[in-house]
């Protein structure tokens, strides 16, 4: 169990940002999504957060989620979270996945498939097309329906009473399944005539994306939902 003091020791205000990245370089995309640019010299977490308009407590929470497997935020952290700040981060994450990570993965897959030179491997391209579409529509729904709802509630604007976060929770589909299948197919079942290097390269990207999406989904389910439920209750 990671205590608050452990996480503060690693990612707290007085820690150097460079040190944070050294602790876990997988936090680089997190910095990007928070609008914290690189080239920050000797800046501390506190200074960088102030510059980017991010609360240090949120920064620590994000770092913990992306560093420790199965990190579960405690009730205090959830209560302390700012819904608007969280939504902004989730929106940026969607952008990052849709506009950057997934298209790059697509390119790698295209090259891999071309190296196999078989009709079978072209099926992978079509499979990935479908996956991309599924992912985009999943994000679109959240960006256009769920997040505005939360923003309204958080800012005290009355909603029409039609939507609730419970509906989101129940309909929150699993976007990992197709990605898992793709990973298994490339890892286990693609014939070995395909280029090994391209294959490994694509797999690394798939594993990273899957890992990232898992944590993203966890934040929506374990932080956003309880947070909004409290707001809904307060509003009644």
């Amino acid at each position: 169990m990671n205590t608050l003091s452990q996480t503060s020791g690693l990612f707290g205000e007085h820690v150097k940002l460079a040190g944070v990245v050294d602790t876990n370089y997988m936090l680089l995309p997190v910095l990007e999504r928070l609008g914290i640019g690189l080239g920050f010299g000797e800046e501390s977490v506190g200074e960088a957060c102030r510059r980017a308009g991010v609360r240090p407590s949120f920064f620590v929470l994000l770092c913990a989620i992306h560093t420790f497997d199965d990190y579960v935020p405690d009730a205090a952290q959830i209560e302390n979270a700012d819904p608007l700040e969280l939504i902004a981060y989730l929106r940026n994450s969607h952008e990052y996945y849709s506009r950057r990570q997934v298209p790059r993965l697509r390119e790698k897959l295209d090259r891999l498939v071309a190296s196999c030179r078989s009709a079978h491997s072209e099926l992978l391209s079509r499979f990935f097309d479908n996956y991309q579409r599924e992912l985009d529509s999943h994000f679109l729904y959240e960006d256009e329906k769920v997040f505005p709802y939360v923003e309204d509630i958080a800012q005290g604007r009355p909603s029409d009473g039609e939507y609730s976060i419970e509906r989101f929770e129940q309909n929150h589909e699993n976007i990992d399944e197709k990605l898992d299948d793709l990973k298994n197919i490339i890892l286990k079942y693609l014939p070995d005539v395909c280029d090994e290097t391209l294959r490994t390269d694509a797999l690394f990207d798939i594993y990273r994306l899957r890992d990232d999406l898992e944590r993203h989904t966890m934040m929506e389910n374990k932080i956003l939902v309880p947070l909004v439920e409290k707001l809904e209750e307060a509003g009644r």
Binding site: A119, H120, L123, L124, F127, N130, E177, K178, D180, D181, L182, N184, I185, K188, Y189, L190, P191
Partner: protein
């Protein structure tokens, strides 16, 4: 009719009448009933000590918010067979977590046979996957390959059940086993797997 091994069974069922009836039938057919509970929470505590190989659970006891799977709530290993014990109609949604579904109206001998067959199939799967590292081809059984082909061709569970003269729950069980062995969950993924392994022709699928 005794099974070739005395499998250990736990029963989680709120009705004492049903639980006792089931216990009697299972013992008569050569099984070893190690514990009976009327609630999941009580059962979970005993499971680690009694280590049942088969667990009967009445789906009405499932956590309605489904925050935890039954398997994790009971802390059951993957090898343990999770069986839904049902009285009547039941939605797929509730039985999805189970490996098998048994109705109280089924003939006892048939239940015993199914349980033995399911356990033996699992045991041979385990030895099969232990050898899988040396066997480059898939280790799906003949029947599983047939079901996979049907899925890849776009047939629904009900159609597959009718065509093969088996129950829809058996089809679901086969599909779960296929997923368990290949690691592939979606129909689209299974289709690619089937094509790549020469089980289905690309043209059959579109």
């Amino acid at each position: 009719m005794k099974g070739s091994a005395r499998y250990r069974i736990a029963i989680v069922e709120p009705s004492e009448i049903v639980a006792e009836g089931l216990r009697h039938l299972l013992v008569t057919h050569g099984f070893d009933v190690v514990s009976i509970h009327d609630r999941v929470s009580a059962a979970a505590e005993r499971m680690s000590r009694t280590t049942p190989q088969i667990v009967f659970v009445n789906p009405s006891l499932l956590d309605p918010e489904q925050r935890h799977t039954l398997r994790s709530a009971l802390d059951l290993p993957q090898e343990a067979l999770l069986v839904a014990l049902v009285y009547g109609g039941f939605p797929d949604r509730l039985t999805a977590q189970f490996d098998e579904v048994v109705s109280v109206f089924e003939e006892p001998g048939a239940i015993a046979r199914r349980l033995n067959a399911a356990m033996q199939s699992r045991e041979s799967d385990e030895t099969a996957s232990a050898h899988a590292a040396t066997d480059p081809r898939n280790d799906l059984s003949e029947r599983e390959r047939e079901i996979l082909v049907a899925v890849a061709r776009g047939y629904m569970n009900k159609e597959i059940a009718d065509r093969h003269n088996i129950s829809i729950h058996t089809v679901i069980t086969h599909r779960k086993n296929i997923t368990r062995k290949t690691g592939i969950k979606t129909v689209a993924g299974l289709t690619i797997y089937a094509i790549m392994n020469g089980l289905v022709d690309m043209n059959d699928v579109e």
